[in-house]
């Protein structure tokens, strides 16, 4: 365990650590562009230079990311020599950068912007024209590449080689005209994790087409959530407009209640720092057309009457069966159990199945069960059946993905669902539910890790929280 001194603080590094890793572990900041804790060390941006004291009193300047921490080393992260080096490096990095922050989606969360203010702050000293490169290159259907903004840190290239293993990106040409390009076999377009390169990019070179010019990031706030795309339950941040920056035009009102983008939350126990592209598409999943009011056999009904009718049907049933949603949160499942106890025979349901073209399962993150809380259902309600019993006289269907042909003839149907679907009108009573972004709760993933998601938006009118609804469905008859 080498002991070294960084900026006068004596720290103990783990064996085999670099100065960069040791400093980070002890909360000492050293700037970096190309380095990433989960990727290999290319040492190409040269911004992480630190000074190391030499025996003769001099100072030797080298990059921290590739410098093994050694016993007795004395490191300076901000000596005059280091500052001058960093300033020179920043001059180089911004030399051919277009500095078009005004129209760049990365502005506000751009490492280059931050470092420029921190380590250089001066106007360009160059008198020569900047080099030009492709300004808008379609890397895939999802990602657009701006080669002029690229600082050639190769994080994206290394991601596709070391993490997603698609080998979808590479560097073409050399010198200051070298550019990132996808491999000719189209592997990057098929990479199920491709959007991670957008987060990895320290500048605005790689941008999501879905988010392109949608919003300045400082208008948005990130609400921590859990991706319901599969039983991995990756931590995600759902970005939506801050209350004080809500759009006022009625034409744009819908955007106030929509998710603008999704980024991963680093969680070593679940997803590391990555998420797959399905998580990035959550705005589409949550943005589907909603069911906005209760129905009696397809006819709109007042909310109270619908709840009372459902309560009566449940009370009258002799052999009621509940088809439980694996998209329900642990809180909702607990509320269901508290309200009904063992009143229902239970059937577990997979709300979502793999879609055509979707990666079913891989070695990195994606799991075959495309529902977030199947493990939670087992934990809260115990083992459930898989098929609706033939003698059931009432079926309570909770959530999507149920084949109503499995309902025995003559059995009543109470259907709880969040989205507009043809089946909604077939139920004897249909009640609209809230979706994940309108409530908070927990999911338990396949490995038993429970993660919390927070509410982003207010409950739309006419929609019910399942957690509160179940209490009202207990009782006798149609009376209040």
């Amino acid at each position: 365990m080498p002991r070294l001194t960084i900026d006068g603080r004596e720290i103990e590094a783990k064996a085999g650590q670099t100065v960069m890793q040791a400093a980070r572990d002890h909360g000492i900041f050293i700037p970096y562009f190309c380095w990433h804790p989960n990727l290999s060390v290319p040492g190409n941006c040269r911004i992480c230079v630190v000074g190391v004291a030499e025996k003769d009193g001099g100072e030797w300047v080298e990059i921290a990311c590739n410098m093994p921490a050694a016993e007795g080393m004395v490191v300076f992260t901000a000596s005059e020599k280091v500052k001058a080096r960093r300033k020179a490096t920043m001059e180089f990095i911004t030399l051919n950068h277009p500095v078009d922050c005004g129209i760049c989606d990365k502005a506000g969360e751009c490492t280059l912007q931050d470092y420029h203010f921190e380590y250089n702050g001066a106007a360009s000293v160059s008198r020569d024209a900047k080099t030009h490169a492709t300004k808008h290159f379609d890397l895939s259907e999802r990602i657009v590449l701006d080669n002029e903004r690229c600082i050639q840190c190769t994080r994206c290239v290394r991601f596709t080689r070391e993490i997603s293993m698609s080998n979808g990106l590479g560097m073409l040409d050399r010198g200051d005209h070298s550019i990132v390009r996808p491999s000719p076999d189209g592997a990057f377009a098929k990479d199920a994790y491709s959007d991670n390169v957008i987060d990895l990019c320290p500048v605005g070179a790689l941008l999501a087409k879905d988010f392109l010019h949608k919003a300045r990031v400082w208008y948005l706030k990130a609400t921590p959530s859990v991706c319901p795309g599969c039983e991995r339950g990756c931590g995600v941040n759902l970005w939506h407009r801050k209350d004080e920056w809500k759009l006022r035009s009625p034409r744009q009102a819908a955007r106030n209640e929509g998710i603008d983008r999704v980024t991963p939350i680093e969680n070593p126990a679940v997803n590391g720092p990555w998420v797959c592209n399905k998580a990035r598409d959550l705005p589409r999943l949550f943005g589907r057309v909603r069911a906005t009011g209760p129905l009696f056999k397809g006819a709109p009904a007042p909310c109270e009457a619908a709840v009372l009718e459902a309560r009566a049907l449940i009370a009258e049933a002799k052999r009621p069966v509940a088809v439980v949603s694996s998209w329900a949160s642990n809180e909702e499942l607990a509320a269901f159990k508290a309200a009904f106890g063992s009143r229902f025979a239970l059937v577990a349901k997979r709300d979502h199945e793999p879609q055509p073209g979707e990666v079913v399962q891989d070695d990195l993150l994606i799991r075959a069960d495309k529902n977030p809380n199947a493990a939670g259902v087992r934990a809260v309600l115990g083992e459930c059946g898989t098929e609706v019993p033939k003698d059931a006289d009432l079926v309570l269907v909770w959530g999507e993905g149920f084949d109503f042909r499995a309902v025995p003839a003559g059995a009543k149907i109470v259907f709880l669902n969040a989205f507009l679907a043809p089946e909604n009108g077939h139920a004897d009573v249909f009640l609209p539910l809230s979706i994940q972004t309108e409530r908070s709760g927990h999911y338990t993933n396949f490995a038993g890790v429970t993660s919390r998601f927070e509410r982003c938006f207010a409950l739309p009118p006419g929609v019910l929280h399942a957690e509160e609804l179940f209490g009202s469905l207990v009782g006798n008859g149609r009376g209040a």
């Binding site: 190409n44 911004i47 590739n66 180089f92 008198r127 020569d128 010198g175």
Partner: protein, 429 residues
Amino acid sequence: MPGRQLIMNFEVTPASHTLADYRARGGYETLVKALGMAPADITKEVTASGLLGHGGAAFPVGRKWGVMKPNPGEIHYLCANADEGEPGTFKDRWILEHAPHLLVESMLITSYALGVRHAFVYIRGEFDLPYRRIQGAIDEAYAAGLLGKPVPGSDFALDIVVYRGAGSYVCGEASGLITSIEGRKPYPRNRPPRLTVKGLFQKPTVINNVESLANITGIIRMGAEEFRKVGTAKSPGTQLISISGHIAKPGVYEVEYGYSWAKFLDEDCGGMLHGAKMKCVVPGGISTKVLTRPEIENLTLSHESVNPAGSGLGSGGMIVIAEGTCMVRLLQVLLRFYHHESCGQCTPCREGMGWMHRIIDRIVAGEGVPDDIERLYAISHANDGTTICGMGDAAGFATVGILNKFRDEFEYWIANKRSKMDGRLECRA
């Protein structure tokens, strides 16, 4: 003849590169002697000889070898660096063309000393005859049973593969070279780890210049003590110098270390072209700082003599420049080369080379400003020791070397929008 000769010590004939002729000169006899020695003793002998690397950095060969710990069963590699890309340098080409078997025998001895089973010759793609000669020599050695299976009378066997580069300056950098052999873009690698710890295919690898390797046979044949009698105490042996530019007799010369520089130019190389006056000389490839004629007057061709003068013998690619040559245009040529050859991996070189090239282009176009000279200094300084490989430093040395000594030409061009020297690079009769 500039001193004693160790490599160019035979008459070049149309057949002198063949195995038969090489054997007639005593070829592959040293291999038999070496195989009778313990591998560690060979390394000891090479270390004792004080042989310095001939690739440019003059790193002691023995010290490089000493890091390798030959373990039976563990894979080690040897690469001969024949990617002779330093402008002005064409000395390895002579060895590859005329003494390919000397290289093969040396590689056999080196591989035996370092526990290597597979060796590579990385040859630049532009070399045609040298490629055919070295490949021919290796084919001959295979046919003669020297390669591919145990050398007669021992259990040591070696395979040599010739790998042709696709043409890039950084492929001559040791780590770029092995990355290229691995089939990837030749981005140089960060140290640590050293290549002798983790090199080709992540295995300990020794990469030596062709000329360094070619000396091994001689060292083992005559012994370190005998070898040290050639050259000087600090620079033992000889150096192949490829001389070009405004010189009467350009070509490859084997020079014994310690030989007078002025004598070498004036007598051995026949003096200046068309009897011109000498302005300056690039001692060893364009990445070494230029020296003016008065500066070299009393120097000898040895590391201990040239290094204190602020330059180095480098790769032995000497370029002689006559009075009347425009140093601004010369620097423009150099910077265009460095810009073109920067691999683009790390920031200072990637951006700095292009920047310097654009500045010098602007000066030549008559749009320079006085600040540009300071800017060139600043960029050179910012590249000094900050890049992954030595290319950034090299370009900086070359630029600073010319700017220091011929600053007036740059100032003249910036002030008058034209060359002080007619913009000439050629030497007229």
